[in-house]
Symmetry: C2
């Protein structure tokens, strides 16, 4: 990994910083409590290190693998081709196949990217067909100029119902509209061997990109699943990967002080198991990180919410992630956070720089009652609010910690993404559960297949009908 | 109220329907458990009825008050004026001053409303300046054609920091850009008497609309706070109010079976206090209701998350609302919901009709592996998934209930909104807390003012600096 990492010419690192002091200190996690997790913590770290060394953790390899120019080249080339021939990129995907693209767009593209005229827009317009909501599907399809639109179907198996159902409709529309060239309006991102999309691609001459077989959906944003849309949007994918790789190195350290993924995992499991905090509030103060919280919520919930541990014992683990956005939710959720039950851990994410700080006008140009703003900037206000919110929660003995970004760009976002992934895996190992599976979603799927009359699922439809 | 209600010529009601059976039945709420709340329930209902009869519940009056043509007329006229002179409406507001507008746009406008060309767009483009995020502010201001833009500042007091800070910047930009006509680019929605905006409006000749003094932000969507943007968007405000008024009547019934607000409140309080469920998952299956969950989350969290009860006793009440969207979150949160701790109540919202059901192509036009979709529609699939998810959760003994909309339109949305408001108030009275205040947000504000150097808040900045 270190060899490939060299291919990045990384500038002096604008490291993201972590402050766990008010969790481990005043937040209630005593040294004695920490010590009771000492052995489990050591074993978890050893396991991660061993699995990383053996190349067994698929997602951990991604920053180095795609950081290699030769490996990234076909993705770059695919994005370049799309950009030269189309204006609109529509991702057909759901969950881990869509949330990463959404996060990257929110954090790194212009907030009104899709609305900008061509002259001001840096890359393709990006749309998502996630939910199989007929009203949304109809609206998007009638809105887009299909001649200028390419659809990227993202699914490892190709059989995810929401994705497959929208794909067959899109395919049918394209075939009728463009009888000779319809296949060029499609691009598949899928497992290189398994699944139904490869065969279709071969038959119909549709281009494909790979999701490595050993990487699951919610850990796949640093593979072509996220990199293709990133490049289509004009995002610097190399910087994203460099930031992630830098964090991957930090997360192998055996010192809690130097390893923010290990420290975070320890804080979360103690808060849950010993102190009754069954929720984690992802609380960034930056509009651009709103979709990051959605991405994180999948990662955390689906990885740690497990009925049985790795030895088969019934455990029902997992804390519930809550999407929150500062300062907006000071006017929505803060009342509950301050005065309600003490059942949450607060993960503040602070962005230190927003580009232009946006100075307020001088006193003479502000109505009298609001002149206290003069001499300050909007950035200063937002940062003051973040500091104040955390301080106020700490004063109520609520457990908080803080991640600080020197600024929000591809590099720091890469760090933030990889930190969350590594912390989630450490937490899984501390809980003793498998963070990479999702057996609990099968039952609902089977009932739905039964209701849809799919062959082989008749017993489920009978069960749901009470027969 | 009944007199004004007559001014609506309401068609045979497409009532939204409620199914609490798997909460009160298999969900664990026994008849005996219900009986222990009998007295509190009766007192809460009597209190609401008395307060409604005496006109003491400001928000309860809104559907009837604005349902009256004469009262709504100035709001209609204001919207008409804006529509004739501008293309873009920007709401400057946060929390209850913005979430209602966002909800109405998401549910009732085209999903790509702002992107549509004039010929296809039914009303004004609607943007929101909620968060004081400098990157977003800059991006929006440089994106819009200010000549064609009007800013609606929504704040009862006018001094909310996020709103005030963006307002003074916008005002300054407008004054320099349009020295003679800048005031016409502003519209204030504010308290008719208190607050700083009225004085400014009088001085500068800025038009104002009222937020009734006895209606708090999170209960204000059916006042001009929500009605002005609704009308600007081309939404049928009368239908919205008619649906709400219809629900207001239902929510005065003394029978649990006929009063879905009372039934819901009872279910929630028992689930929390007796069965350890400290979260409520708002789980609609319709893209258009995504922002409804954000609006609901404020309503629920800020109304019920209280440190002390009405007698001053320390209680720390409130369950935490969770935004979820089906089918998307089946691929994100469902694993945790199915297998993690049993600590949630699931509020499913089912939309029975999406307009076009969107039939899948016949078998001959679908790749072989996916032909089970043939003969079905996308709507059928989404509804099957909703049924299946709820059934699967019920099988795991998780507590669910369901609200069913015959379709999603202004009328049913009005019903859904008022139901949630009434249920929240009943829940507050059952908890014994004041659902209309928010004392817990003050401390954070004071710290922020201190950090910003505002006169009178010096002690807070000293405290935060550890002096």
């Amino acid at each position: 990994m270190s060899k490939s990492a060299k291919s990045f010419a990384r500038k002096p690192a604008p490291d993201i910083a972590f402050d766990f002091s008010s969790g481990f200190g005043r937040g209630g996690i005593t040294k004695a409590l920490q010590n009771t997790y000492k052995k489990r913590l050591r074993l978890s770290l050893e396991r991660v290190r061993r699995e990383v060394a053996n190349g067994e953790l698929g997602f951990w390899k991604l920053p180095a693998v795609y950081g290699d120019k030769a490996t990234l080249a076909p993705v770059r080339q695919a994005a370049k081709n799309l950009r030269s021939r189309f204006d609109n990129l529509v991702i057909i995907g759901i969950g881990g196949s869509a949330l990463g693209a959404r996060m990257l767009k929110d954090a790194l593209a212009h907030p009104y990217h899709n609305e900008l005229p061509d002259s001001k827009r840096k890359g393709m317009r990006l749309y998502l067909l996630e939910n199989n909501d007929p009203a949304h599907f109809n609206a998007l399809m009638s809105h887009l100029d299909l001649k200028r639109t390419v659809f990227n179907v993202v699914s490892k198996s190709g059989s995810t119902a929401e994705t497959a159902s929208q794909f067959i409709l899109v395919r049918d529309i394209l075939k009728r509209r463009f009888p000779d060239t319809w296949a060029q309006h499609l691009l598949f991102t899928t497992d290189p061997e398994k699944g139904i999309l490869n065969k279709l691609a071969a038959t119909d001459g549709i281009q494909t990109l790979d999701v490595p077989s050993d990487v699951g959906g919610r850990f796949s944003v640093l593979s072509p699943v996220g990199l293709l849309p990133a490049l289509a949007l004009g995002v610097d994918a190399s910087k994203l990967l460099a930031g992630a790789e830098h964090m991957a190195q930090r997360c192998l350290s055996d010192s809690i002080a130097d390893n923010p993924a290990l420290a975070g995992a320890l804080l979360h499991i103690i808060a849950d198991q010993q102190l009754g905090r069954n929720m984690v509030v992802a609380f960034p103060y930056a509009d651009g990180l709103k979709a990051w919280t959605e991405w994180f919520c999948q990662l955390w919930a689906e990885s740690l919410g497990k009925a049985v541990d790795e030895s088969g014992g019934e455990v029902h683990t997992g804390t519930t992630p809550i999407k929150t956005l500062g300062a907006i939710d000071q006017h929505s959720q803060m009342q509950l956070y301050m005065e309600g039950p003490d059942d949450k851990v607060f993960m503040f994410i602070r962005n230190e720089s927003f580009g232009k700080p946006l100075a307020f006008p001088p006193k003479s140009r502000i109505p009298e009652a609001l002149q206290y703003f003069a001499g300050h900037s909007m950035q200063e206000l937002l940062l003051a609010e973040q500091t104040a919110s955390r301080f106020a929660l700490n004063e109520q003995k609520r457990m908080t910690y803080q991640v600080t970004l020197p600024k929000l760009d591809a590099d720091t976002l890469g760090q933030l993404v990889f930190w969350a992934e590594a912390m989630t895996v450490f937490a899984g190992y501390l809980y003793g559960v498998n963070p990479f599976d999702q057996p609990g979603v099968e039952l609902g799927k089977q009932f739905a297949y039964g209701l849809m009359g799919r062959a082989g699922f008749e017993s489920f439809s009978r069960r749901i009908r009470g027969e």
